[in-house]
């Protein structure tokens, strides 16, 4: 399963990079979205895969009984998902406002710092 996921992650990365390299800015946004999902999955897989054993201490026990999924990777990803959402919302509104003001969605038109 790890090998399969490694391939899926590679595919997600490839798709994200390709979209990021487009001049259409909405495609870039989609690339960003895919990239953040891909990165989360990458961290998740690197933590090691454990089927159906969430890191929860059973009632009455002092500690969780191994094997259980890596809680640290999960905590990091949880933070990353939320921050990714913040980033995407901001980027989306930025793009939206730019399009409203400038009427263009081509990054090649966005060259000057002080238009």
């Amino acid at each position: 399963m790890e090998t399969l996921l490694a391939v899926v992650i590679g595919a997600l990365y490839a798709a994200a990079f390709y979209l990021l390299l487009r001049r259409s800015i909405v495609r870039m946004l989609f690339g960003l979205l895919l990239l953040s999902n891909a990165i989360n999955l990458l961290i998740f897989t690197s933590g090691g895969l454990t089927r159906a054993r969430p890191p929860i201490v059973p009632a009455g026990a002092a500690e969780a009984t191994p094997p259980f999924a890596d809680p640290l990777a999960q905590a990091l990803i949880l933070t990353a998902i939320v921050i990714g959402f913040g980033l995407l919302s901001f980027t989306f509104v930025l793009i939206y406002r730019y399009y409203q003001e400038r009427g263009s969605d081509d990054t090649a038109q966005m060259r000057a710092t002080d238009p």
């Binding site: 399963m1 590679g10 159906a52 406002r97 090649a108």
Partner: protein, 766 residues
């Protein structure tokens, strides 16, 4: 001494407020500061001239061996008195010269800050402290030259002065570091005592050359002299103070200060004396071509600085005596002449001597003072300039150089000085009255007090040379590094030196009489004469700007895609290179088996990504992205991460809603790229994706030790009081991260709100 300097800086900071409170009297009030300090120095002068120097040390950065070490010997005192004395007069003069100007408060600020820095420079005993003040004078000079910053010429001149003196200053800094390493001390006094060792050191020549670069640029020596005439863009009080009497003498000061430590060698005499002599002659020659009062004075200042450098280059007692005497004489007459020139400009509206004449009747007082100062400049008895010139000729007759070279050069340059002195005094004040843009009147008190004080001091010192004698002897002692006594006298008797003086005056007078044909000749030769260091500077600056612009075009072209492309290629290369060339392990594929539904989900995710890339419909792409997101959420659920799955589903749903709502307002996908570049991007992306896959597989090779996991598992209940370990980590063990996350979200929300509310003014022009 530290407190005196700090007081001047504090006064500088307060100047704008003081000026606002007392707009009419501010010049007089502020002048009290340097006047009081100068009075204090004068009060202690007897003590310093007769006895040991004053020393004062405060710790600064002990770890680096830096200390605020001040030392006032004869040389420092001489400069400190010139700075505070002339500074006082200049502040008063500036108050009258720029009266009514709204920027006067700022002008005082810069001027007084410069005064403080200059004082620090001449009183520092630590070479690095000196450097700090040295750079401060460059910066304040920059601000003062560019004071009229709305004029391009003033800005360019300010930049030119800063670049030339700043580059020289950097070279000097390197030289000072070398010097400190060679001597094992940063104190000038101790370096002077180790002169013999320094001169024998293998690094002597590099250190000397670097330090001379600083001194020569600051003191406008050929071929770096061109910034000084440019600096005449500054208001006249600045020219009178910084660019004739004080700052430009910082280089000369450094030469005098270091001459016991580094002077007297063949290299020193050869480089310093020759540069000085060449500057003396070039300055005088170029001055003759000018007709603008301030530029006339500026080039004659270059010439005078050359003379000072020349004398310090020779370095024998007679030359140093002549140098110190001339230094004072020059500061007095040149300060007075600059202020007088400013007064003429102020009253008539022009500085062109060919358009001035017969002003003496309109401005008798200013005219008298200008004539007195010019007489001192020309070396007429009984003014102090005469005393200095006699000493200079004595030194030239008794030098290490062949007599005909030294006396010839001295005569030649001095003839030019005499002619220029007449051009700036006789030409505007006598002859036929010429109508000027403004009808001239006698200047107010503030405008003539400065020139009058300095001109009368020239006369007083000439008549009573015993007055400054003790101080000068003490300064000479400091510059020579050995005791020296000399007697100043107005009358040396009938000797060859006097004959030289008279011949110089006669030749200068003749040259002045022939000024008409002379100017025509220069005008005819204007083309070839315009080649010089200024051209080289302009060319270098243009080339540098061109290079910078070219580089910017190459690297900062503004095409986002290419930036990303470069990033991606660079990262790929950096990771792939070591992987491919240092491949030394066998890749074992971990095998935990694949269940059918897991494989299906994985395939679904990959398909979603593929559709998102390939589709031309935005709606389709959003749906495909949703498939990817929910698919990943389901994977989380399968592999023991219910919290992640929940969050992912929530966020994904929100994102889908936002996208679907917003996409309506955004344009459809357009195909901007050519097929070739799309193919290039596909190849690159696939390569990058493959590399990531490889990296993931490599990380699977050696499962990391799970000590942290064990810790969290053991302590989750006792320390965090929670059974869901992920939750405990988020809100307890790594709560600060969560805090940061909330902050980021808050800022993003604020940003979104601001962007949505922001309405750009002026028809959408940001």
């Amino acid at each position: 001494m530290l407190w005196g300097i700090l007081a001047i800086f504090v006064l500088a900071a307060l100047a704008p407020w003081l000026h606002r409170a007392f707009p009419r009297a501010s010049g007089w009030l502020l002048a009290l500061g340097p006047a009081a300090l100068g009075g204090q120095y004068l009060f202690r002068a007897g003590e310093i001239v007769g006895g040991p120097p004053l020393v004062e040390t405060h710790p600064w950065v002990p770890a680096l061996g830096l200390e605020l070490a001040f030392r006032m010997d004869g040389l420092g005192l001489l400069f400190a008195l010139l700075i505070t004395g002339i500074g006082t007069l200049i502040v008063v003069y500036a108050g009258a010269y720029l009266a009514g100007d709204t920027r006067l408060g700022r002008f005082y600020l810069f001027l007084l800050a410069f005064l403080g820095a200059m004082l620090g420079l001449v009183l520092s005993d630590n070479i690095f402290l000196l450097f700090v003040f040295w750079e401060l004078t460059s910066v304040t000079s920059y601000l003062l030259i560019g004071f009229d910053h709305e004029r391009e010429a003033a800005r360019d001149a300010a930049l030119q002065a800063l670049l030339v003196t700043g580059l020289g200053g950097l070279a000097m800094f390197a030289g000072l570091i070398l010097l400190g390493q060679m001597g094992g001390t940063a104190s000038f006094a101790e370096l002077a005592a180790r002169g013999a060792m320094l001169k024998a050191h293998p690094l002597y020549l590099p250190a000397l050359l670097l330090i001379l670069a600083g001194a020569f640029t600051k003191s406008a020596q050929f071929p770096f002299h061109f910034w000084l005439p440019g600096a005449m863009e500054a208001p006249t009080p600045v020219s009178a103070f910084l660019h004739s009497a004080t700052m430009v003498k910082a280089g000369v000061y450094l030469l005098a200060r270091l001459s016991p430590a580094l002077g007297g060698t063949e290299a020193w005499t050869g480089i310093v004396a020759t540069t000085g002599a060449v500057t003396f002659l070039v300055g005088g020659f170029v001055a003759l071509q000018q007709s603008d009062l301030k530029r006339l004075l500026a080039y004659s200042t270059v010439s005078a600085l050359g003379l000072l450098t020349w004398l310090l280059g020779w370095g024998n007692p007679l030359a140093v005596q002549a140098g110190m005497t001339f230094l004072v004489a020059h500061a007095l007459y040149k300060g007075a002449l600059f202020m007088a020139a400013g007064t003429v400009d102020h009253e008539t509206g022009t500085r062109d001597v060919t358009r001035l004449g017969g002003l003496f009747g309109k401005m008798p007082l200013s005219g008298t003072m200008a004539l007195l100062a010019a007489a001192s400049m020309a070396g007429l008895a009984p003014l102090f300039g005469f005393v200095a010139k006699e000493l200079f000729y004595e030194a030239a007759r008794d030098s290490v150089w062949p007599l005909w070279i030294s006396v010839g050069a001295a005569m030649l340059g001095s003839v030019g000085t005499v002619t220029v002195a007449m051009m700036v005094s006789v030409e505007p004040f006598f002859g036929r009255y010429v109508a000027t843009p403004k009808a001239p009147h006698e200047a107010p008190l503030g405008l003539w007090l400065g020139p009058a004080s300095l001109a009368l001091l020239s006369l007083a010192f000439g008549l009573l040379p015993g007055g400054p004698q003790g101080l000068l002897a003490s300064a000479v002692t400091a510059a020579l590094g050995e005791p020296s006594s000399f007697k100043l006298a107005l009358w040396h008797g009938l000797n060859p030196t006097l004959a030289l003086s008279l011949a110089t005056l006669a030749a200068g007078g003749l040259l002045y009489a022939a000024r008409g044909p002379l100017r025509r000749a220069f005008a005819a030769a204007a083309g070839p004469l315009s080649y010089g260091p200024t051209r080289a500077y302009e060319w270098t600056l243009q080339a540098l700007k061109g290079l910078a612009a070219g580089q910017t075009r190459l690297l900062q072209h503004g095409y986002l895609n290419y930036y990303l492309l470069v990033f991606l290629v660079a990262i790929l290369a950096m990771i792939a290179w070591p992987l491919l060339f240092h491949w030394d392990f066998h890749l074992r594929l971990p095998n935990s088996g694949i269940r059918v539904y897991e494989g299906l989900w994985a395939a679904l995710i990959a398909c979603g990504a593929g559709v998102a890339v390939a589709t031309n419909s935005r709606m389709f792409a959003v749906v495909a992205l949703g498939v990817v997101g929910y698919g990943i959420a389901f994977l989380y659920l399968l592999f023991g991460a219910p919290d992640l799955a929940m969050t992912q589903i929530l966020v994904e749903t929100l994102m889908l809603i936002v996208l679907l709502l917003g996409l309506y307002h955004l344009p459809g996908f357009a195909k901007y790229s050519r097929p070739a570049s799309r193919l290039r991007d596909v190849l690159l992306s696939v390569a990058a994706g493959a590399l990531v896959t490889l990296l993931v597989l490599i990380t699977q090779q050696n499962p990391h030790p799970a000590r942290l996991v064990e810790y969290f598992s053991k302590n989750s209940v006792p320390l965090g009081q929670g059974r869901n370990i992920v939750n405990v980590i988020l809100v307890d063990f790594r709560a600060l991260d969560t805090m940061g996350e909330i902050t980021v979200l808050g800022i993003a929300a604020l940003g979104v709100y601001a962007l949505l509310k922001l309405r750009l003014k002026g028809g959408g022009e940001p």
